[in-house]
Symmetry: C2
Subunit: 140 residues, 2 copies
């Protein structure tokens, strides 16, 4: 059997080398076997697991949520209600974040458009920050 080094595992999964070690240290990834010279030797299943983690992180799931998703994956006879709930909760978070960022975008556009590119004392950017009451938008 070919030995998969940590560098190889990192390349195949898209997770950085120190991050792989970090995931092992927090128990998200089982400690792999070691070579004679004490170097980690990964299995193909570890690559899948790392890839799973990377995708979930890219989707913004927190480590603890991923831990739960992984235990679900490890036991496929369970109901997927938990996985569904986690994904739905994340969807709600993302939707809220988008709404909030759209408001920020509008506010930043007002600031930038209003800037006459002159001196600071006429600058709308500074002005809006100093007195939020002048801002046409409200996001609280």
């Amino acid at each position: 059997m070919k030995k998969i080094t940590i560098g190889e595992a990192a390349r195949r999964s898209g997770v950085k080398v120190p991050t792989v070690r970090y995931y092992e240290s927090i128990g998200l990834l089982a400690a792999p076997s070691r070579s004679e010279g004490n170097q980690r030797s990964f299995e193909p299943a570890d690559i899948s697991r790392l890839t799973f983690i990377r995708h979930a992180r890219e989707l913004g799931f927190e480590i603890e949520a991923i831990r739960t998703l992984l235990t679900l994956q490890d036991d496929p006879h369970q109901s997927c209600a938990s996985a569904d709930a986690i994904a739905k909760a994340r969807l709600v978070e993302v939707e809220q974040r988008i709404r909030s960022l759209m408001a920020l975008k509008a506010e930043l556009e007002t600031m930038v458009e209003g800037c006459g590119h002159g001196r600071v004392d006429q600058c709308r950017v500074i002005e809006v920050l100093a007195d939020h009451g002048q801002c046409t938008h409200s996001h609280h």
Copy 2:
């Protein structure tokens, strides 16, 4: 002159008490004078500065960007080109973040809609995470 305690300053600016002390510790806010009993005594100008910082933080500006914006505010004869550049950079960031989150939203919706609420081994949530190639969207 009435003395403004840290609690009062916090209430008026909307910045929490420990955060006010934190801003002082990193030099974002000048250290205020102290009462006989060593308690901080703020000026109205400090409240304005804290309010400015809070607005900027709400808009997602980083502390170092705020530090720059504050030095610009302190010297109103400067060109506002820097302020303009900072705000524009922030706008670009926000726009990118929104695009990225919209892609995530679509992906999460696919996952959640595809979930048959059955067992984990038929769950689309887990499936998509395990093999990103099955995902209809791409965001890289």
